[in-house]
Symmetry: D2
Subunit: 357 residues, 4 copies
Amino acid sequence: MSIDADTTVHPALRIAVIGAGYWGPNLARNFALSTDWELVAICDMDAERASVLAQKTGNPAVVTSVDELLEHHDVDAVAIATPARTHHLIAMQAIAAGKHVVVEKPLADTTERGREMVDAARAAGTILMADHTYCYTPAVLKMRELIASGELGEILYVDSVRINLGLVQPDVDVIWDLAPHDLSILDFILPGGLTPLSVSAMGADPLRAGRSCVGYLSLPLADGALAHIHVNWLSPTKIRQMVIGGSRRTLVWDDLNPQQRLSIFDRGVDLKHQEEVLVDVASRKGAAISYRLGDTWSPALSEFEPLSLMVSSFAESIRGGQPAPTDGASALRVLSILEAASASLASAPSHLLEAAS
Amino acid sequence: MSIDADTTVHPALRIAVIGAGYWGPNLARNFALSTDWELVAICDMDAERASVLAQKTGNPAVVTSVDELLEHHDVDAVAIATPARTHHLIAMQAIAAGKHVVVEKPLADTTERGREMVDAARAAGTILMADHTYCYTPAVLKMRELIASGELGEILYVDSVRINLGLVQPDVDVIWDLAPHDLSILDFILPGGLTPLSVSAMGADPLRAGRSCVGYLSLPLADGALAHIHVNWLSPTKIRQMVIGGSRRTLVWDDLNPQQRLSIFDRGVDLKHQEEVLVDVASRKGAAISYRLGDTWSPALSEFEPLSLMVSSFAESIRGGQPAPTDGASALRVLSILEAASASLASAPSHLLEAAS
Amino acid sequence: MSIDADTTVHPALRIAVIGAGYWGPNLARNFALSTDWELVAICDMDAERASVLAQKTGNPAVVTSVDELLEHHDVDAVAIATPARTHHLIAMQAIAAGKHVVVEKPLADTTERGREMVDAARAAGTILMADHTYCYTPAVLKMRELIASGELGEILYVDSVRINLGLVQPDVDVIWDLAPHDLSILDFILPGGLTPLSVSAMGADPLRAGRSCVGYLSLPLADGALAHIHVNWLSPTKIRQMVIGGSRRTLVWDDLNPQQRLSIFDRGVDLKHQEEVLVDVASRKGAAISYRLGDTWSPALSEFEPLSLMVSSFAESIRGGQPAPTDGASALRVLSILEAASASLASAPSHLLEAAS
Amino acid sequence: MSIDADTTVHPALRIAVIGAGYWGPNLARNFALSTDWELVAICDMDAERASVLAQKTGNPAVVTSVDELLEHHDVDAVAIATPARTHHLIAMQAIAAGKHVVVEKPLADTTERGREMVDAARAAGTILMADHTYCYTPAVLKMRELIASGELGEILYVDSVRINLGLVQPDVDVIWDLAPHDLSILDFILPGGLTPLSVSAMGADPLRAGRSCVGYLSLPLADGALAHIHVNWLSPTKIRQMVIGGSRRTLVWDDLNPQQRLSIFDRGVDLKHQEEVLVDVASRKGAAISYRLGDTWSPALSEFEPLSLMVSSFAESIRGGQPAPTDGASALRVLSILEAASASLASAPSHLLEAAS
């Protein structure tokens, strides 16, 4: 994946966008603008909606069923932006027809179906990729680069907060609605992907909306590290912040601060200095010398549209035959964590309080 | 409890401060300045340290043991600012001698010992109070007032973050070090005190310091509400923020923003408008109308020293014979939650990830 | 002017947009979307550029000269978005033809020409209006409403800061580039408009760019009040902040803080309490009681597109025959201040420092 | 001047503090704590006030007149913290007696008297220094270091804002009250000191308090640079911010942000790229490439008490016989600018607005 233009001239790949609702238009617009792609068709059961979108994206064909699309239109790939419960059916059809597939998040509505999709694509030799758009933003790409270069040292903890006044979704809880962003980002930036030892979730539905509107996910990682995610639809203030604590430095990503989106703090607790302190219970004051208080640094970020990079990465994967950075396997890891979170939520909490009774 | 001066003239109560280390000097200074109190003695095993403190606080007597203090000095009350594991022994002695007692947080090192202290004080008819200093700050008093007046409606969720670069304590983990603040504040401001249905804790010790340096507490409350606390010694940025989501309004307390410490948002999700939306899975856009976006309001706060109010509240309790706002029972609730959190931390996480293996 | 839909049915007014460069497309788009208007033509010397714009705005006619436009197309009004030095010529032609005119800021390149335009429109009985877009934003409308209602009391001072890393313009200095925003806003929100007693400007061109890149304007107002404006192209941080100090309350507009754009502070210096203090030179401490420290309040703002309101206000003015809120007279006041600022800049500073020599 | 301890052992210098009002206690406390100094006497007409201070600072002698002090007490130096109008008289007496002198800001109440003090000290061979405390803070020392090292390049502009709700002083206007801080800092950090080509001031007294409560100072510097200072007693929000724009980098000092007090932005307008743009009036868009958008960097700052460094710098100057960093000459430059500002304020503004009449 590269944000620089590939200077080799390739014939454009042919794509159809399936689903002209909320996210489809963004995909269609970016495929239409890309020199890697030719947008061949818009597919939606609602012909009117598909036509409106087609008019804005260079007048590709309008079709109203996936069958019709696959039978009558010559495409290399499809982009699926339909409700999650339909992803499996459509993707399996497309893979069976030998098409490459990019799917809006989440990959599918269950881990089992997601795994079938991954297995089918692998068997068919086609690319299966998830549109985890955040992974293609300048900030997240820089975070991945900083972690990969060792700038932060070993990752000790991650704390992510994604809260705002949000619509109570009719079909999914706040964890399924918002946490896929945090999970796919973590899978993208952590070396080896996001592979927690366990998943523990806590949710609340104080409005009696029928699903959690406040959610917390704890993900213990290898070597004593811990990732934690807070998602919330009820917060009057909007926060998009991720702290990644490393053994060398700590990174803070504040996505709502355009003037300083990323900050790298050369501050931390230095355990070597701390050692003597640990034996001296009484004098709290002396221990203050164990901080490391260095400079703070905020890297400049380039500016480009993430979806534009996503569609070119999809093309690059297809042409090179190698997995996309947010491939089906990655999306499957995200999905399996969401499913484990739901299982955790459904189980009863175990440490009842004597004192409270 | 009142921040206005009580105009009735009372003879000053006589107090001794036990422990001249980190917190004792603050207590001694405030008792010495209070017209409610006469500071009679400073007690510390280290006579030098006690003397230094005595010189700065009007030259009360210097004693080096609790026995000596209780035998030879005529005091109404003692203030205990020694290590937590010694609280029980000293307090039980003082209560047995008929003294009123205020104890630095936490009340004791175990719930069992704390309960003994509470029972003993009740039996002896003496006041037992915890110095939960935060509860006497202008911001927390205003929060309690706003909740009590119904300004926020029913409490739906609480999210508290207390993180900074902190010293790895030699004897306690980050939850025992920092969460008592959040827990005692919640016990103080929630109607009926803090009585969670269960306690679920998650911690991490990625530095191999021998104790959790990152901690999360989830406290499900009655009626589907949830309180969550994040404490962290490893964060390069300092945050002291508590969000209290109510059915009518939401309050945000940002203790590091002196220009706007409290904000009350008249914003929220209005479920009545939301109802129709819930049946319409497809159109996410229409649902946006279900927000309520009203004004924001930040009340002016008076300025006074919290410890000064704490010592006068202690005197008021003794004189009136009624429990202090942060009495032993309250401190015991906090202690029992801390203990349940440790039990939760010690138990194995249950939702292992298949996909991760 | 009203942001609510006018329910009376009017035949649409016919408009042409002149100038398809930087700002013209925004105007064309909003006229095309408005039910008050029918976009009849796009006029630009560059036919290609005009055609591209016409295709995006419902295919109005494309014309390449104002003469052609006025001769062959039946329009009620024209919107002029050409370089400032051409405004006078085009507007005078249109007014002579009996057309209503809205002009991009600034009204003209000199006060004299601006005054001719105002006089001509008055004589012809046509509406002449400036597109001071900021005046149609929710925040500025609310500010005007708050001042008009007496919420702030008498205006004591205004301090406006509009700085960022900006392009060094080839034809105008930073004062002519940025200050028209502040000036037109002040003219819009101050009762009676912006009528300073004098204009004093200070500028700097440390990069030797040939024009001021840093500028300060001081505008003494009646009754001892003062408005001050800071504009700057060289600042690495972006600030858009206006403080309006009133005798009752003070308003702060922070346009880059979407979560709290307007704050009204019930804080101030209370001169009545201050009086005694003034005679007592020695005790600075006692004087602290003279502050008034009340609540802070942040009103909710509606959301709409400012240009959409501007075009409907233009229609409303034409239909009602009354001046627009940002009419030619207002734009002329802004222009005359800009011209006085340039004269001030050109004159030598007078208080040379002896000590510096 | 150095913040590291000087390891050479010197006999302590003997000092008296004159004035036990607002600032004197801070000076006395720091001289008492310093190993460089022995605090010999507190001098105040109010013997009671002097005694109270003496008790807190190691019980130096208490005297009630300068004559008595100089006759009967053996001191090397005096620190003057009396009202500004008395500085000259006291300092001249002390200098005549061969004492070194440090004076609270401002140096004197007129430039003429300040110059007499400087001349007298030079003739007597004694050190005369102003207590410009801000110059001894970690942030300002770092700023001086960064500018001296060329990190910022040539200084293009300085914009300083020092506003808050402040007491209307009985004897001086807001410029004399607050701007000495900004002026002394600029004199300290700019290579060669602060030597403006002229001084232009603007003030407002909208409350009819008898003196300016809002003030602006413009100070054109050599080579087209400009410094500007905004001071204000009426602002409900508190701002302490100084922007120093350089040809290579720009520094922002936000003194109220303890987590990031200094930021150095590697951003700016690059005039080389800009050149072509300047000839092309039409295409504003293309010109955007002329920004330089590099990283931002925030240096770690050490922590120490500024007054502690000030008193040790005073000792160092005396021992080394070289001028202090904030010597009399520096304080005189500050004073002369304040006086020129008052002259500018008193003169009538010259650019009356025709349009406003």
